[in-house]
């Protein structure tokens, strides 16, 4: 098979599943180490705005932050909340997703991974605390309110307005968290276990967080996202 064909075959598998495992696709996986194939794939990466990383026998395709061809859109995120979800719901979902990642991988020492599992009740407690802090900081609330109509205070209020965690309806805290977790579960990043009362990161999430997402070299890109010009949604 020509190198270009092999590269396309690898690319196709990666696009289909997001990853290529040596255990199930041994031959193709080894072809990735072929210099020619690798350089063709590198060109795909440049032109199609993605990255491939290899971690412990698995090859992953990661759309770059700015990739809206392969990646998600706000609409996708909103629809994962509900068909009638508002932008404020999408903000909350994004925040909860990031907060979950923070609780798992927010360690400041050599190993950023902080825990093996996270109970939903603990996550609610931590979110309550975080949102509570945001609402208590009157000065910050004032600054945010004066600057932006849609701001973190609104998100905190939306969270506070949700009923407590016994009920599982969409408009409760548990329901909102489960909605977020199910999105992450569909992406094979988390597993909901113990009758939806506990979260566990998948191997994929460990791999991606520790080998790419948390890498210091990404700081500029993230900073640019928050500080730079408004991106197209």
């Amino acid at each position: 098979m020509s190198d270009i064909k092999t590269a396309l075959k690898i690319y196709r598998k990666l696009v289909e599943k997001g990853q290529l495992d040596r255990e199930t696709e041994g031959d193709l996986f080894l072809e990735f180490r072929n210099v020619e194939v690798r350089s063709i794939l590198a060109e795909f990466e440049d032109e199609l705005d993605f990255k491939t990383i290899e971690v412990a026998g698995t090859l992953y395709l990661l759309p770059n932050m700015t990739n809206d061809v392969m990646g998600f859109t706000t609409k996708d995120i909103r629809e994962s909340v509900a068909t009638d979800a508002r932008l404020v719901d999408a903000y909350l979902l994004s925040y909860i997703s990031m907060f979950i990642l923070f609780l798992f991988y927010g360690g400041r020492n050599r190993n950023p991974k902080q825990r093996e599992f996270l109970r939903i009740s603990k996550l609610i407690e931590e979110l309550d605390r975080r949102f509570g802090m945001a609402l208590a900081d009157q000065e910050q609330v004032k600054v945010l309110e004066e600057t932006y109509a849609l701001n973190f205070t609104r998100i905190a209020e939306l969270w506070e307005s949700k009923q407590d965690y016994e009920e599982r309806g969409r408009k409760t805290k548990t329901g909102t968290i489960l909605n977020t977790c199910r999105l992450l579960e569909r992406e094979n990043l988390l597993r909901l276990v113990e009758e939806d009362r506990e979260l566990r990161p998948t191997r994929k999430l460990d791999d991606l967080m520790l080998n790419y997402y948390l890498d210091d070299s990404r700081v500029d890109e993230i900073k640019q996202f928050f500080e730079g010009a408004e991106p197209d949604a």
Partner: protein
């Protein structure tokens, strides 16, 4: 006189490791008083240690999975010894408290400072049990087992000397068989099985540890494990076969005796059955040893690969997640909000179908519109649907409400019922009632269900494939069930609904509609279908 020679403190950390393990039980964190106050002082410590012994027994001696249920059953079993009579729900919660909050420290690592003289203080991570996620149909279950530290604690608290080697255990067994002390030899052979299984568990846990977090693993640990396994295999394998040969000889002697005497006396018969148990244990040990040989090889491969990967990882520097992402997210410019998905983009699977799928060319085009709902003063992104698309969404939602209402009612009734009964019950929920009666949707949908005759939820659960959003607004039961499954994963425990028309009985209803100041009335007559419901 000042003593300068501190040799007596060599290996001091070994002693402290035991203290650290015990501390994690006695000075447990995450205390929940609702459980603690159920017990007299010290009682819960006893129970926690008993749970650890149970996990060891279950995973080593019986070689069975150890799930939360089996641990809870064990706790129930020992409660009377503490003069406590707890409900099964409380026992289950107590077991969870022991496992998750105490022994697993709520998922967070627990450390204990240990002095290594000459090297300084070291933070020792305490983990007495470990768990393994197992995929089962429709979910995951957790299987618990002891870690090295857990075994170490239990062996030491039972005063089994740490130095006891496999060889000594074997020698004991050989001597016991020589002396025809088969009863003791049974226990001894069971010990061998336990030891070899423990070694196997060591390897599995090590592999898991390597895969999960290479930072928790050091080269000494790897070398110790590999060399100890290697020694165990090389030196002991022959001896095990030797013991098996002795057993065979013992059996032959008994056979000869039986032939000579015509029958075996009670004592001899007992010896024969004891020898059979020993032989089974020996065979088990040899079988496990073979498995161990294979696992040792894969252990080396995995370790080497992960080490290679970790070289790159050890050079990596990680940013502070809170400072770089979380805090900016909390002060985020509202213009950035529509683009927040970009933060998740690198973690999500590629989603090319949405943009590269040719079928999307034929999808209904939507006009953007301003949304107006909920919290005031929030500027919402202009994104929406044209009227027709909006109507389709509404229809889908109403159909979902109908199916949900029907299943809910069936769940409450727990027996077959008529459509009329369901309809009258629905009147109590005015918003759903309004939704479903406008355009007579409820009646049309009911006729469609009658057309289908059966909604087999059990079959649907086993056969469901990817469900696409219903683009027509027509009743699509599969789509409704798919959405319903999010809020009610068990679909109310219903197995099947069968819709039939057993007789000509009609359900007649007058419906009123208010348009402006005028009230319009219409009369609906529909067969009073019977809905049979069966549960799982």
């Amino acid at each position: 006189m000042v003593t300068t020679n501190l040799e007596f403190l060599e290996g001091f950390e070994q002693r402290m490791r035991l203290v650290a393990a015990i501390d994690s039980i006695i000075n447990r964190g995450n205390r929940k008083m609702e459980f603690e106050r159920l017990f007299e002082p010290g009682q819960l410590d006893n129970i926690i240690l008993s749970v650890l012994v149970f996990i060891m027994e279950r995973t080593l001696t019986e070689d069975e999975d150890c799930k939360m249920e089996s641990i809870a059953n064990f706790v129930t079993q020992i409660m009377p010894d503490y003069s406590l009579d707890l409900t099964s729900e409380v026992t289950r919660k107590l077991t969870e408290y022991i496992i998750k909050d105490i022994l697993q420290n709520g998922g967070e690592p627990r450390f204990y400072p240990i002095m290594q003289y000459g090297q300084g203080m070291e933070q020792l991570r305490i983990r007495l049990i470990d768990d393994k996620l197992i995929d089962v149909p429709r979910g995951y279950v957790l299987n618990y087992q002891l870690t090295d530290q857990g075994y170490d604690l239990l062996f030491r608290t039972k005063e089994v000397e740490q130095e006891i080697s496999f060889t000594i255990e074997e020698l004991k067994l050989r001597e016991l068989i020589k002396r025809k002390n088969y009863k003791k030899a049974i226990g001894q052979s069971a010990n061998l099985v336990q030891m070899i299984r423990q070694k196997k568990n060591d390897i599995r846990q090590f592999v898991q540890k390597v895969r999960e977090n290479i930072y928790d693993v050091n080269i000494e640990e790897f070398e110790r494990l590999v060399s100890s396994t290697y020694t165990l295999l090389e030196e002991e394998y022959g001896m095990m076969n030797e013991i098996r040969a002795m057993i065979v000889i013992s059996e032959e002697r008994l056979k000869e005796e039986e032939t000579t005497r015509g029958a075996l006396d009670e004592q001899m018969s007992k010896a024969r059955s004891e020898i059979a148990v020993i032989r089974r244990n020996i065979n088990l040990t040899i079988g496990e040893q073979k498995e161990l040989i294979l696992e040792r090889l894969s252990l080396s491969r995995i370790y080497k690969e992960t080490i290679a990967d970790s070289f790159a990882l050890s050079r990596a520097r990680f940013y502070d997640f809170e400072q770089v992402i979380l805090k900016p997210l909390e002060r985020c410019d509202e213009n950035k909000v529509p683009g927040l998905w970009r933060l998740l983009n690198p973690l999500f699977k590629p989603n090319p179908d949405r943009t590269l799928n040719l079928l999307t060319l034929f999808e209904r085009q939507a006009r953007l519109k301003q949304e107006e709902e909920g919290t005031k003063s929030i500027v919402l992104e202009e994104l929406g649907e044209d009227t027709e698309l909006h109507i389709i969404t509404q229809l889908n939602n109403r159909n979902l409400d109908f199916i949900q209402g029907l299943l809910e009612f069936a769940d409450r009734r727990r027996e077959s019922f008529r459509f009329g009964e369901f309809f009258l019950d629905l009147e109590n929920n005015s918003s759903t009632y309004q939704e479903l009666t406008v355009d007579d949707l409820i009646f049309k949908t009911m006729l469609k269900l009658y057309d289908l005759q059966v909604i087999d939820l059990k079959k649907w659960k086993t056969q469901q494939e990817d469900v696409v959003a219903n683009a027509t607004g027509e009743l699509d039961v599969s789509y409704c069930l798919y959405r319903l499954e999010y809020s009610h994963p068990d679909l109310y425990g219903i197995k099947k609904l069968e819709i039939s028309k057993p007789d000509e009985q009609l359900f007649v209803q007058n419906l009123e509609t208010q348009i402006g100041e005028e009230t319009f009335s219409r009369r609906i007559a529909i067969s009073d279908f019977r809905i049979e419901v069966s549960f799982e």
